[in-house]
Symmetry: C2
Subunit: 127 residues, 2 copies
DNA sequence: TCCTATGTACGAGTTCAATCGTACTACATG
DNA sequence: CATGTAGTACGATTGAACTCGTACATAGGA
């Protein structure tokens, strides 16, 4: 259904600005370490975050509320920071929100095939 | 060339027995979890062990002395056990020695491309 | 049989990561 | 300005993993 003025307020379509905010601190492509990436992905919650970004995100970044994770906010901050510092995701500040996306090009260049494994991953104890 | 009696003593070619010893406890192929494998490989020492097995081992298993790791024996026991319990390696007991090899077929079946990443890995602060 | 070599088992100390509560900052909206 | 919202910062707690010393078990050779 077409969004009315009322629904548009709740859907909150924030257009991507032309001048992107600077990414938060992250390793350069050539400094991304395979063992650090694997350490970041060894946590099921973080593996699920990256997989969801790969499978469901379109061309936009996503704030961490988008993931629907039932954890306290400070825990999510911790995990998103771990992913960013390992070089798996990039985070940019859009006003209030800090949005994340996977560094697909960088990871494909350094570790071809790795993201395909993440996309094929199945969460544990899936009913 | 065929081993003589003299070379057999020094080179210590232990022929693989027809009745292989039972592997030590390990997860079944279908129970190997990607996040557990990545957790095992997130340690540089263990990543190096698997890489060395992939690049330098021929068709034989290797005891952990073969790796030339400068760590106490009990530390090595810990790391080889971590690799085995994650499903990365298989260990068999040959007399005194407990030899390891990578579960290449199992890992290729579950996570195609993963072992290629390990083989291409470069150790940190390589001079 | 004694010695050596390979490797485990156990336990202690230490470090690190995960979890989460609380307080705080910043923007947006009324 | 007051309120709500998105998220960080800090600190405390907990548990797991890494590291290693020591003691122990076993096989093979002198």
């Amino acid at each position: 259904m077409a969004p009315t003025a009322a629904t548009r307020a709740t859907i909150k379509v924030l257009p991507v600005p032309d001048d992107l905010p600077e990414p938060l601190p992250e390793p350069a492509v050539e400094d991304i370490r395979l063992e650090a990436v694997m350490g970041a992905l060894s946590d099921p919650l973080r593996m699920g975050i990256v997989r969801k970004l790969l499978l469901e995100s379109e061309r936009f970044d996503h704030p961490c509320g988008w993931f629907g994770l039932d954890r306290p906010k400070s825990s999510l901050t911790h995990h998103f920071k771990a992913l960013r510092e390992a070089g798996v995701t990039r985070q940019r500040q859009y006003g209030l929100e800090r949005r994340s996306h996977v560094r697909v090009d960088d990871l494909d260049a350094r570790f071809p095939g790795l993201l395909a494994l993440v996309a094929d991953w199945t969460p544990p104890q899936a009913s």
